[in-house]
Structures are given as structure tokens and as C-alpha cells.
């Protein structure tokens, strides 16, 4: 206990020192600010991304719980927090209609732009790429630092909407004009999304350049672990997709601020019965195209859903192989499937717009291309099953989450097929069927994969082991509550329950669904609070966790060649790659794994040095 107290004291001591004094300490060559705040070290940046996103996960999750409360018990005050909220948002502690739409918008904006994307690309790409390709840092470390700092700035910009006149953005995360074409909150949303998009582009540039240029000696592209492959392909999506969103929101900005009428047709009415202040009214006639915004938006945002899932697919592949002690089934097929998903991802955006009134021919095209995209996804599913087939499966927490990912992603993907079929989408578009799909792929898919990855690399990130019991407990609790929360959404979706409605019981045909909504809400709350176990585990283990060995999972890829808690520069030995990343159970080694960096002539002798338990 005494020892702990001392370290705590030390920590506080360093932390309170200002930058000018920090260099006085002999053991402290870089200032505190350079080391922890404006750091250019990829591992620090990864941790910054991770902690920021975790924070936003709590915020976005809390919003979700408010949403759920309102849907289950409309008009009843939000427990605990309701009475603290201002009257502009709640009446008698219950969510007001305007607040509800703000909540939905902010929930999704935060979850997508500030949780999943920064987590999947920011945290994982930053941490994994340099370590897994055996290099010391990113190709452009300063750009990398900027890419992180744009995220909190953008987050603050968007969140500051809560404090402006008229409230924050409330047009859904898709922010379709004309609804989004007025109001300060929407303008702040646009600026924030522009900034976070810029961050994403800068990140993507770096990941691409690093993967292409900085691979260790002997590492060909097809020697890269699937995590790196997936992040590489994701980066292409980021670099080429995000700018289109940037131009879409820039044009929206021009509409909001100058009323140019780019997305606003002529002679629209405002809520007060007047006319929209719109360039097209001022003498020029003609009109803007609201649907154009949707095209530009989805041209980014469909690839964006793959930005959120592809890295996860890579992470899950690595974890499954490691814990099944077996090579990935069809490594090249996995790579080509990733490429195919990314490529097709750019030509299916219209499936979000079947009902926008687009030409039916275009609808047919998008319908077929969307259905085709299920093929590479099925290849991945089958290959994962092939990977665990005849394996020797260990059930550490990362693997449980990875297996959970497969189970739920199949469900989410298959519900995607329903919606991909145009005529069916006519009925289920904008119902809770979509909401169920979203959460099965984003929570059940992306977030489970993120949990898996966080547990898996936690030892390398912090040099400590997380608590296995708590980890398993968190997984099972989340998995069960997740399914009970989101599966019933399919059912009410088929029943016609619309999305984004503040009080469903205005409609006769939705009244019978209230018990189901209450059921969902109960499990949503349980699921929300289950996440506290995760947060607790990660924080507690930081201090009290067992010290991690260099290669706790007996894995093959290069990050495990680095010291248990790698310092600046990452590696303490030269790295040359001699084989692919999945040589599990190889006959060439006595052990059931054969890391990439072991020299062929010295397999058994050298491997001894990286065995579990040794540092």
C-alpha cells in the first residue's frame, strides 16, 4: 500500500509541473506537454483517441438512455437527471419533442463521428500499424498529432450547440436539408463535422503512407496481418470518401449562412408561413435540389459504415486466429474480400435513398450492387468459421468478444439484405427495423470488435493485464442485454414503428407496442450500466493489474516483439520479417506458434526468448 501511495504521489508531482520546469528533471527529457498532450508518439496518440472516445461513449450512451426512457414512459420525468435539466429541454422533467430530436441527432453524431470512427481508426490504426509492421512511428507524426486534436475541438463545437439559441442540431445524424438549413445549432454541427472529417482525412493519409512506406525489412504486403490490411483499406475509404462529405456540408453551410438555395428549392414556406430566405427567391427563379445533398452525404456515409466495420473485421481475424491457435482460413481471400467490400462500398450509396424519389432505374442499380456487397461479407464470415474449425479455441475475453461479434454481425448483415431489396425497403425504411440494423452492425459489430481489440492490446498499450473475470462478466452481461434490447426492435419495425418519433402513442397502431418498448428500455439501461464494468476494469487494471509479459497471447505478429510496454521508438531489437503472420501450429516449430520475426535457422532457440512470462 505504501508503495502505491508513493507512485501516486510521484505521478501527481510530475503532472502538476508546468512545461518550463519539467526539463529540470534529469529523468525527464521531454516536457510533460510534449509527452502527454501534444505528443507525436503514435502510442500516446492512440491512447488519447481511446480515452476521448470512451468519454464520448458515455455521453452518447447517456443520451440513448434518455431516448429510451421517453419511448417507454412518455411524459414521465427522467429519473435522477430530469429535474436538473433546463426548461427549454424538459417540461416537468420529461423530454420535450424538440429535445428528443436533438437527443437522437446528438446520440448518433457522437456515436458515429466521435466514438466508433475515432476508436476504430484513430485508436487502432495509430496503435497497431507502426507496431505491427515493425517500425518506430508514423510516417508523418506531426500530422498525426493534428489529426487527434481536431477531434476534441470538433466535439466541443458540436456540443456547444446545446448552449445556443434554438438548441443544437436536431435533424438526425443525416442532417438533411431543408430542415437543417437554418439554425445556429445546425451550423455548428456542420463546422464540427467538417473538422472531424478533416481529422479523419489526415489520419487516413498517415496510415496509408506508413503502411506503404515503413514496413519492416522482409515484410511484403501479403505478410501483413489482416488488421493492418483492413486499416489500410479503411484509410483509402477515409481519404477518398470524407472529402465528399466535407464538400456537402460546406455547401450546406453556404445555404445556412447566405441562403444560397443550393439545396433549397424555390418558394418554400417556413414554420411561420413566410418564405424561406433563399437565393432562388431573390429574382432568379429556379431552385435547389434537396436530394443532391443526400447523394453527396451518402457517397461518404455509406463508405463510412465500412470505415466503421472493416478495421473491426481485421482485428477480429487476428484475434480469432490467435485464440484458435490456427492460421486464418484463406488469408488472401480475406484480403480480396476486404478490397471488394471497400470498392463496392462506393457504388451502393443510393440504398439509403430508395424513397427519395430517385429514378427507378437508379434504384434497381443500387439494389443489385447492394445485394452483391453481401457476397464478400459472407466470404469473411465463412472464413472465420473455417479459421476456428479444427482449432484449439481459448476463451480469453478478447476471443469471447470476437465470437460475439460474428454472432451478432451475421444478424445485422442479414437485416441489411432486407433493406437492400428496394420493395421491402419501401415498407421498412425509417422504421425501427433500420434502428435494429444500425445497432446490430454498429454495437453488435463494431463495438464488440472494439472491446475485443481493446482487451487484446491492453497489455501492450499499458504494460498491465486487465482483469479476466471482470472482462468475461462484462462480455456476457453486454451480450445478453444487447440482444434483448435490440432484437425486439426488428419486431416493432415490422409492425411499422417509425424512427425518430418522440411519442409513438399518438398513433393507434403503435399503442400496442408500448410493452415492447418498455422491455427494450429495461435492457438498454442494464446494458448501459454494464459498460461501467468495462470502464472500471480498464482504469483499475492500469494501477493494480498484473504486469504484462511481452507476448501474453503467444501471438505471431510484430507488436509482440516489442517490449511489454514499448517506449519511444517501439522496438528494442532489429526487426526482419521471415514469414506470414499466421504460422500457428506450424510443423517447423515445437510450439504452436511461430512469430514473424524469428530467424528460420534459430526457431527454437530464439523463440525461447519470447515465451510467455519472460519480459
Amino acid at each position: 500500500m505504501a508503495a502505491v501511495a508513493t507512485t501516486q504521489h510521484d505521478h501527481a508531482h510530475v503532472a502538476t509541473h508546468d512545461a518550463a520546469h519539467a526539463h529540470d528533471h534529469a529523468h525527464h527529457s521531454v516536457s510533460f506537454i510534449r509527452k502527454y498532450i501534444f505528443s507525436t508518439d503514435h502510442k500516446t496518440i492512440a491512447k488519447q483517441f481511446l480515452s476521448t472516445s470512451m468519454f464520448f461513449l458515455l455521453v452518447g450512451g447517456a443520451f440513448a438512455l434518455f431516448i429510451r426512457w421517453q419511448l417507454a414512459y412518455p411524459g414521465e420525468p427522467i429519473p435522477l437527471v430530469g429535474k436538473w435539466l433546463p426548461d427549454t429541454l424538459v417540461s416537468n422533467g420529461a423530454v420535450q419533442p424538440g429535445f428528443y430530436t436533438q437527443l437522437v441527432t446528438m446520440h448518433a453524431t457522437i456515436m458515429i463521428f466521435f466514438v466508433i470512427i475515432p476508436m476504430a481508426t484513430g485508436a487502432f490504426a495509430n496503435f497497431c500499424i507502426p507496431l505491427m509492421i515493425g517500425t518506430d512511428d508514423m510516417a508523418m507524426p506531426t500530422v498525426n498529432m493534428v489529426s487527434f486534436w481536431l477531434v476534441p475541438i470538433a466535439g466541443l463545437t458540436i456540443m456547444s450547440g446545446f448552449f445556443v439559441e434554438g438548441g443544437t442540431a436536431a435533424a438526425g445524424w443525416t442532417n438533411y436539408p431543408p430542415l437543417s438549413a437554418s439554425g445556429t445549432g445546425h451550423t455548428l454541427w456542420v463546422i464540427g463535422v467538417f473538422l472531424v472529417g478533416f481529422s479523419s482525412i489526415l489520419g487516413g493519409m498517415n496510415y496509408l503512407a506508413t503502411t506503404l512506406n515503413k514496413r519492416a525489412k522482409g515484410m511484403r504486403m501479403f505478410d501483413m496481418p489482416l488488421t493492418v490490411w483492413a486499416l489500410f483499406i479503411t484509410s483509402i475509404l477515409q481519404v477518398l470518401g470524407t472529402p465528399v462529405l466535407a464538400s456537402a456540408v460546406s455547401l450546406l453551410f453556404v445555404d445556412q449562412v447566405f441562403h444560397a438555395g443550393i439545396f433549397i428549392p424555390e418558394n418554400l414556406l417556413t414554420s411561420t408561413g413566410g418564405l424561406f430566405p433563399n437565393g432562388a427567391n431573390v429574382g432568379a427563379g429556379g431552385g435547389g435540389q434537396p436530394v443532391l445533398f443526400q447523394h453527396l452525404f451518402w457517397f461518404y456515409s455509406h463508405p463510412a459504415v465500412y470505415i466503421m466495420i472493416l478495421p473491426i473485421m481485421g482485428v477480429v481475424s487476428d484475434i480469432l486466429a490467435t485464440f484458435a491457435r490456427k492460421a486464418i482460413f484463406g488469408y488472401k481471400a480475406m484480403v480480396f474480400a476486404l478490397m471488394a467490400i471497400a470498392f463496392l462500398g462506393f457504388v451502393v450509396w443510393g440504398h439509403h435513398m430508395f424513397l427519395s424519389g430517385m429514378s427507378p432505374l437508379l434504384g434497381t442499380t443500387f439494389m443489385l450492387s447492394t445485394i452483391v456487397i453481401a457476397v464478400p461479407s459472407s466470404i469473411k464470415i465463412f472464413n472465420w468459421l473455417g479459421t476456428i474449425w479444427k482449432g484449439n479455441i481459448h476463451f480469453a475475453t478478447p476471443n469471447l468478444n470476437a465470437l460475439g461479434f460474428i454472432s451478432t454481425f451475421v444478424c445485422g448483415g442479414l437485416s441489411g439484405i432486407f433493406m437492400a431489396i428496394g420493395p421491402i425497403d419501401v415498407y421498412i425504411h425509417d422504421t425501427y427495423f433500420i434502428v435494429a440494423h444500425i445497432h446490430y452492425v454498429l454495437f453488435g459489430g463494431a463495438l464488440f470488435g472494439i472491446f475485443a481489440g481493446v482487451y487484446y492490446w491492453y497489455p501492450k498499450m499499458f504494460g498491465k493485464m486487465y482483469n479476466e473475470t471482470l472482462g468475461k462478466f462484462h462480455f456476457f452481461l453486454t451480450f445478453i442485454t444487447f440482444n434483448l434490447c435490440f432484437f425486439p426492435m426488428h419486431m416493432i419495425g415490422v409492425g411499422g414503428h417509425m424512427r425518430r418519433i418522440h411519442d409513438p402513442y399518438v398513433y393507434e397502431f403503435l399503442k400496442p407496442f408500448q410493452p415492447i418498448n418498455q422491455f427494450i428500455t429495461i435492457f438498454a439501461i442494464l446494458m448501459g450500466f454494464s459498460q461501467l464494468i468495462l470502464i472500471f476494469n480498464l482504469l483499475w487494471s492500469l494501477k493494480f493489474g498484473r504486469t504484462a509479459p511481452r507476448n501474453p497471447w503467444r501471438a505471431n505478429s510484430l507488436e509482440w516483439a516489442a517490449p511489454a510496454h514499448p517506449g519511444h521508438g517501439n522496438f528494442d531489437r532489429d526487426i526482419t520479417v521471415y514469414r506470414g503472420p499466421y504460422e500457428f501450429a506450424s510443423p517447423q516449430s515445437k510450439r504452436d506458434y511461430l512469430p514473424q520475426w524469428i530467424r528460420p535457422a534459430h526457431v527454437d532457440a530464439e523463440q525461447e526468448a519470447t515465451v510467455v512470462g519472460k519480459h
Binding site: M140, V239, F258, A260, G279, G286
Partner: protein, 195 residues
């Protein structure tokens, strides 16, 4: 700790990190302007009279002057890289200086153009055409300014005692600068000439 190791080796692709990064960034920039051009095409096709009328109010001779401006600066930028690569410092300063002046000239002309529009009561909100016009030329102008900062910095640095030798960086900047010219090559006919 890391210095003793041979991790940092030559770029695998044979293209320097910065240059590769710049090309990736330019690919991204192409997509950024693609969004604008797509919007422009769609709006033009559905609002032809508005666009024709808008374009006829633009001052194409000024824009033509600016086109020349950027083409000259592109040439001098290429020359500046070549000079620095071969150690000709004074030539580098000359060419870089001209590039910088051209960029200033571009902005001055843009300023004249914009203020003339404002004085005629034409703003981005005047019509969808002018919304597109101000957005596209505005973002282009921001790119020009973004290029002038490193140009000016390198130029200033080359006059200091230690001078400026890093031609590879100038080459990367050059890629960016040519791209800015390239965008204008499309903006000029699309906005001012054809409708």
C-alpha cells in the same frame, strides 16, 4: 533506445514519406472538389437559365488574367525546385519570389472581383449559381493562401545565414501548388466561360 536500431530504413515504395503523403492528400483534394463539381453540374442542368444569367455577370477578363497568373507561378515553381535541387540559390530566390508575387496578384485580383460583386449587390445568397461560385472560388482562394504560407516561409528562410536547402520539401510544396493551378484550370472555363 531506438537510435541503435535499424528500424527507420528507406521508404519501401521508393517515394519519400512526405511526397507520398502529399499525393494521397491530393487524391483527397480531388474528391473534395469533385463534390463541388458534381453539385455544380446537377444544379446547372436543372437551373440552366439561372446559371447562364449568373455566369454572364462574371468578369471573365479578370479571371483570364488570374489564369495567366497561376500558370506563370506554376512555371516558376517548377523552375524554383529545379534550381534548388542543383544548388542555385539566387535562382531559387528569384523564382520563388515570382511565385509568391503571382499568388499575391491572384488574391488582389480575386479581391477586386469579389468587391465588385458585393458593390453590385451580388452575394453568395443571390442565387444558387453565386452560391456555387463563391464556395468554389472561395475554397480555391483558401488553398492559394494555404500555399503562400510555406512559400513565404521557405523564401524568407533562404535569405537567412543558414539558407534553405531542402529542395525535396519544395518539391512537395510544388505538387500542392500545381494542384491549386489545376483546380483553377477547371474553375475558369466552368464558371466563367461555358454554360
Amino acid at each position: 533506445m531506438s537510435s541503435a536500431l535499424s528500424l527507420a530504413h528507406e521508404p519501401v515504395t521508393g517515394i519519400r514519406h512526405g511526397k507520398l503523403g502529399m499525393w494521397i492528400f491530393l487524391a483527397s483534394e480531388v474528391m473534395f472538389f469533385s463534390g463541388f463539381f458534381t453539385a455544380f453540374i446537377i444544379l446547372r442542368n436543372t437551373n440552366l437559365p439561372v446559371f447562364a444569367h449568373g455566369a454572364s455577370e462574371l468578369n471573365w477578363p479578370l479571371a483570364a488574367l488570374n489564369t495567366v497568373n497561376l500558370i506563370v507561378s506554376s512555371l516558376t515553381m517548377a523552375m524554383a525546385i529545379l534550381s534548388l535541387e542543383h544548388g542555385n540559390k539566387s535562382r531559387f530566390q528569384l523564382y520563388m519570389g515570382i511565385t509568391f508575387l503571382c499568388a499575391c496578384g491572384f488574391l488582389v485580383i480575386k479581391y477586386i472581383e469579389y468587391t465588385a460583386k458585393f458593390s453590385h449587390g451580388i452575394y453568395p445568397g443571390t442565387s444558387s449559381f453565386f452560391g456555387m461560385y463563391f464556395t468554389m472560388t472561395g475554397f480555391h482562394a483558401i488553398h492559394v493562401i494555404g500555399g503562400m504560407i510555406p512559400i513565404g516561409w521557405m523564401l524568407a528562410k533562404s535569405f537567412t545565414k543558414r539558407g534553405y536547402q531542402d529542395w525535396e520539401r519544395v518539391e512537395i510544396l510544388g505538387l500542392y501548388w500545381h494542384f491549386v493551378d489545376l483546380v483553377w484550370i477547371f474553375l475558369f472555363p466552368v464558371l466563367y466561360l461555358i454554360f
